[in-house]
Amino acid sequence: MEHDHVEDGDQVVFHREGWSRVFQIRRKRQVYLDKTKLDVDALIGQPYGSTFEVDRGKLVKIEGPAASELSLGETSSDTGTDNRNLLDLDSNQKMSKEDIMKMKYDGITGQKIIEELIENSETFKMKTEFSQAKYLKKKKKKHIPVFTVMRPTPRLVLDIFSKDPSKICYLRADSLSQLLSYSNVMYGSKVAVVETCQGLVLSCLLQRIGEAGKIVQLIPSNTNAVCRQVMDYLGFAKFMENVYSFPLDELSSLKDDRSFPSLNSKYYDKIETNEDGVSSGQYNITVSNGSFCDGGESLTSNENAEAQGSDEAFDGESVAPDLTEEYGDCGNAETEGAKIDSGMQMEVKKLGPNRELQRQRREKRQKEAGTIITEKLDSLVIACKYNPTPILMQMLSYLHPSSSVVVYCQHLEPLVECYTSVKDNHAGLQLKLSETWFREYQILPQRTHPKINMSGTGGYLFTFITSQSNSESFAPQS
């Protein structure tokens, strides 16, 4: 049950327009926000949706209806008509950077600083009304650190990555939302997903399938770390029962050996109607000694810093320092169950009977995942840094006919290949290859126009519906 107030241990989004950060709120724990240390004890017990101002490392709640629109008093009634007399000079502002720093140090409020700035500006009064508004907005953003405390949602979590979209394969709200739509994932769906988006796609899918659905995350065996950081943000760390993982290179073993020793009677029913007619043989998922399996579906506790580290190695890209700093702070041991780590690290950390239990559990979970796959899936979602075509073609036989498939990629070319492969194999209908043009607008009286900056790309989507494939019998069933 979700509570309306921030509680000890909650993952909380600090949000202001177009900007979000996630922190786990713990008593007596400080967080780093814009490089300043912050005491967050004051948040506990406050309702979600409250707005706070940062005042010398302390959070001060802003009460009243004015909370959202901090307005400055009538600072000036004088306005100019245009900029014909304005010169771009350093001397326009009499206050120096040092003056401002000193005021801040002395604990003078942001509001007061802005008033001083206006007072000491030669040109402010000559600016037009609109130009003054713009100036104020800019200064407010800089000197009055205000944010609203929100419960994390995929929408807000997406904001966190706006500075470093490469971490989520350049997914944008439009592409992620369409990915979710075209996957037709709903309450109770069985879904396979391949993603390298920090668990963002996985989390969104998990939210939509509810507790009734099942997700199998397919993992390449040559990957030594799978990051599912976003799962923490959205508070899914505790609800991992319907998330499975399965190594991609074990898929062939599902195909070759088709009888389970135990598990599920439903599975046998399935075999009866399987078009391939292969019905016997030993079912056996071999637990390979590869790095993935060893560290498999594990409930390891690891320092978040390690998650960062291993992910960095895997990406081959550096993590933006401000992100590292804030992530690093927001969770130490909280990555439990939300991350699959490399076997190497496992071995160092876990020893003894505990380890054996974990291994057994992983084996069992992997077997269950195998069953889910062979009983066929409702949807397949691919959004990763791997070449999608081989994965897609491998997985096609594990989808029901009339299932929904979405392949997302930051590049167009791999999707062209997917398209061609599906088409040549007559494996799908309603093949669509698309990208989205996305633009935001500034809506203000007499100043409405598209935003000056826009994102050039949100990646590409290839979607289709599986059809009864050619290899299967088309004879009418009785």
Binding site: Y48, L429, T436
Partner: protein, 315 residues
């Protein structure tokens, strides 16, 4: 019931889509004894019952496929009673309104139910959609469709003009969607409908003047994080294309024989090989697979405006 995830075979009373070709699907409610005409000939409903979704059917003059309806396919095949929203906008609406299983949503108007189906998929089975439509026949038709599609317990269809009469909901919904000619007239009523914890609102308007007034009203009613956006899908067609190569004189042709003799053999070789190949027949053409954007595409659907109401500002 055919929209359900766990349903794999066609039953009596199910809505199925007869896929005739790309973007060309006929929605059919399966009834015993009935026959349906397609461009490939007659389809007997009795032949459909018990078939797995995705099955390919032989018709007198061609193949058709039996597809499970999804909100996306439904959007492409539904009977239009109004202008409808398409999947690009629909997806954005659902994502930005933070919808998920269990969400409670108010929608005005219902229109042809294109967005409603996508909302219902996301919020089912425990969520609820209160949808309002001022056109009586349309609202009845929509109610029928929702029932037929197995959404009966998740949706309340009301025939009412929310502009003027309001939603008449008191602090019950997580999100509000407005697709109305004058959305600004409903902001206050929408605010009342929102849960005490706050929620999200979306307004879809084709004209910027509507957006302007809506944003002013949202701001006046203490909504925050007001964002307006536009998104358009650009579809690609795959084409095998070719372009004529032009020939350039190579070094061995431009340089006089004496100089050529002095030049280093590896360099000469590298320049000669491709050009001599190019001069032969079809290799004059440069072949490639190209993803070509559609020449014509919809350039505008509507502006989407989103805003948040925080618990602070509910009252």
């Amino acid at each position: 019931m055919s929209f359900n995830a766990n349903k794999h075979n066609v039953g009596c009373g199910d809505t199925v889509l007869l896929y005739v070709g790309y973007d060309n699907m006929l929605p059919v409610v399966v009834e015993k004894g009935k026959t349906h005409q397609t461009k490939f000939g007659a389809v007997k409903h009795d032949d459909l019952i018990g078939k797995q979704f995705g099955t390919r059917l032989q018709c007198p003059r061609g193949w058709i496929y039996l597809l499970r309806p999804t909100p996306e396919l439904w959007t492409l095949s539904l009977p239009h009673r109004t202008q409808i929203l398409y999947t690009t906008d629909i997806s954005m609406v659902i994502f930005q309104l933070d919808l998920r299983p269990g969400s409670i949503v108010a929608e005005a108007g219902t229109g042809s139910g294109s967005l409603s189906h996508a909302i219902l998929r996301t919020i089912a089975p425990k969520g609820h959609l209160h949808t309002f439509e001022f056109h009586k026949e349309r609202s009845e038709k929509a109610r029928e469709e929702f029932h037929l599609h197995g959404h009966a317990q998740c949706v309340t269809v009301t025939h009412r003009d929310v502009c003027g009469e309001g939603f008449q909901l008191e602090h019950t919904v997580d999100a509000v969607f407005l697709d109305l000619p004058k959305p600004w007239e409903c902001i206050l009523s929408a605010k009342r409908a929102m849960k005490k914890q706050g929620g999200r609102i979306c307004s879809f308007s084709p004209c910027i003047e509507q957006v302007q007034r809506t944003c002013e009203e949202l701001s006046a009613k203490k909504f925050t994080d007001i964002v307006t956006m536009e998104c358009l899908a650009r579809h690609f067609n795959l084409q095998y294309a070719k372009l004529q190569n032009v020939s350039f004189k190579t070094i061995d042709e431009t340089i006089d024989p004496q100089a050529e003799a002095d030049s280093e053999p590896p360099v000469k070789k590298a320049n000669v090989t491709p050009s001599s190949r190019d001069r032969r027949g079809d290799s004059d053409m440069h072949h490639f697979t190209s993803a070509v954007p559609a020449i014509n595409m919809p350039g505008h659907t509507g502006f989407l405006t989103f805003a948040t109401l925080t618990s602070n500002d509910v009252n």
